[in-house]
Symmetry: C2
Subunit: 408 residues, 2 copies
């Protein structure tokens, strides 16, 4: 029998009515003769409420081990309620905790990584005709301590289970219809994509269907097709898969425009242009688990150069603190942070080998009078750092320039 | 190092402030050099709220397995929050689910019985200097399915852990100060007892500190001293233990007056006085898990007799339904139910071998003009079924008659 793993996010199971709605959806699919494993997130704001309670009793940062055991209850509640609602429709169903579903992780509380999925219990339940509902976002260490996978971890649970069970595909139901060529709130003509490759999805994941990058990477690695659609209607969604990338020399095209407002730029001005400076600056950031995104070093003038990089705005203060002693040590003239920048990217497969895309992007921005602060490129993306105030204009003009409103 | 198991009920951990208060209590005890295992119930009305949610999504009675997994989250939340609060005071602490604490049960969801406690994880944590906080009310089957022990199950968890760990004693902290000679709301002079035997406690448990009878029976079986006191003040509580019963020919005395309003009387009038009638009536009730309490059969007149028994009022309608076909089969003249009765008992050790207690009880009730409907006795209790309207008068006059207001 065909097996599908489905995932329902917290906004899809916000209350008893919505849980019954999801139950009907699952039941309908089961009625078509498909085996279902459904992964579910905590109801609505449960996780935030629990964190607030934990912070209150701890008078500060709660212990990570205790916090994970606490947070895991949110998904247990929605998982058991969904199993009950499915049973009420006349289907056999069983709710499983991450531990019961066989999800083993390392001991990194708060952002544990899945080490192994023992599928025996799930397979037994499926063989007995049960719909299997699994609490997302959680696993258990070898010592039987409960861990959580970090924000968006239920997506990772769903893709991992699909991979481990050899499911036909993983369906992620959320509060948006699928993946768009740009943020529909910014670009009125933004078009929903029928399909997209994993790598492009990684670049576009920052808006629309906010799938966790880890889940997409996991899908790419195990070649699990991921279907993203709305849990609220029957509109067709977007299929994320590797098929498009497998074709020989497929036509290069821009798939969509991504943008990100959560960007801060940090600059060390006037540092000596000698080997090891960039490493000296970036290593302590890595040690503090601060992700550095775009890195640009300008051409040297009088043997002095400027080194700029971007981090998320939430990390900006900490990054400054970490970099300050290094800046003094290397004799930088100044250290500045700028929260007034944003990222805008064009995303598409095989872009780096096809000339003309970058120049077309820069021309479109220039025609709109938008100044480019920094530039970086990857195989499937060209990104510009620009001023915050022009982000929406940039997304709209690029959407037009690459004619993304047109059907493929 | 001395080891004490403490239990805190839901009303003692109702909100973040109360949890911090309990944490200070536990920390203080630890500071005195005692190892602590604390068992905690779900916060306030959590369990009732979860049952309501479950009933709502199920459109009726939720599946027992799913319900148990759902309800177990309530104690997980309070257990992890308490562990965090204890850590915030500077003590090392770890929260354990019933599963992690090694509590194995049978598969009777909703009222599982503990089959075994594997103490290895708890001992390891204690050896590492941790305060151990355990989620009460829950265990796990051999198949790793989560079970709950039924209402009051956290008391059972605490006593079971104390027995398995060989703790010095089990301390149950609740919202009352201890065990009284009678309900303090009914009898103004009711006096708190310093100590009481397990069997007497079983009889008095229906008011005051409402400890679950299973927990008291478990304590008696494993000889675990149970100390019941308030979590809200430092007033000395009541120690339930077997010591008093072990003395040679100890002085017989009445310990307290119990009463119970949740009583219904069912009577089969004019049934033939031949062997097997009582069994024919009571067997189907046992099959339906309806507990029958007092049973009285009157002397036979013209080879016909009346058979009366009491059940809880909640079971009365079902009991009538079950007994009806039997009553017709044996040719009873009439079948009646009376919800207007109550039980009042004098409780004390060794009462049955000491004459005079029963007559003193009946005299006191007669002097007060209270009619006795039915009488039963046990080794440590004499119970009268009387009319509802006179219960409070009966408790007060008996409390006076046995001079319970006086210090021992």
């Amino acid at each position: 029998m065909a097996l599908i793993v489905q995932k329902y996010g917290g906004s899809s199971v916000g209350d008893a009515d919505m849980i019954r709605g999801v139950a009907r959806r699952i039941g309908r699919e089961k009625g078509r003769g498909t085996d279902i494993v459904a992964v579910v997130s905590a109801m609505g704001d449960t996780t935030d409420d629990l964190i607030e309670l934990a912070t209150s009793v701890s008078g500060g940062a709660p212990d990570p081990r205790e916090l994970d055991l606490l947070l895991s209850t949110g998904e247990l509640v929605s998982c058991t309620l969904l199993a009950m609602a499915v049973r009420a429709l006349g289907y056999d169903a069983v709710g499983l905790s991450g531990f019961q579903a066989g999800i083993r992780t390392d001991t990194t509380y708060g952002r544990a990584r899945i080490s192994e999925v023992d599928t025996s219990r799930m397979r037994k339940e499926l063989e007995e005709g049960n719909l299997v509902i699994v609490a997302g976002f959680q696993g258990v260490t070898d010592e039987m301590d409960v861990t959580t996978l970090g924000r968006g971890g239920s997506d990772t649970t769903a893709v991992a289970l699909a991979a481990a069970l050899g499911a036909q595909r993983c369906e992620v139901y959320t509060d948006v219809d699928g993946i768009y060529t740009a943020d529909p709130n910014t670009v009125a003509e933004a078009r929903k994509l029928d399909e997209i490759g994993y790598e492009e999805m990684l670049e576009l994941a920052s808006y629309g269907a906010k799938m966790h990058p880890r889940a997409i990477e996991l899908g790419a690695f195990y070649d699990v097709p991921i279907y993203v659609a709305s849990s609220r209607n029957e509109t067709p969604g977007t299929l994320i898969h590797g098929g498009a990338r497998k074709g020989m020399e497929q036509r290069v095209k821009v798939t969509g425009i991504a943008h990100d407002l959560n960007v801060a730029k940090i600059t060390l001005q006037g540092v000596p242009d000698r080997p090891g400076i960039a490493a000296a600056v970036l290593e302590p950031l890595a040690d503090q688990a601060i992700s550095v995104d775009t890195i640009v070093q300008n051409a040297s003038v009088e043997n002095l150069t400027d080194l700029s990089f971007t981090v998320t705005r939430t990390d900006a203060a900490k990054a400054l603190e970490v970099v300050k002693p290094v800046a003094e040590e290397v004799g930088a003239r100044a250290l500045t942070a700028d929260n007034g920048v944003s990222k805008v990217s064009i995303v598409g497969s095989g872009m780096q080998n096809a000339p003309g895309y970058a120049s077309r992007m820069f021309r479109a921005l220039a025609d709109e009078g938008i100044n480019i602060d920094m530039i970086t490129t990857s195989e499937i993306r060209i990104t510009c750092i620009i001023g915050d105030d022009r982000v929406k204009d940039a997304v709209r003009c690029l959407h037009r320039a690459f004619q993304l409103e047109r059907e493929e």
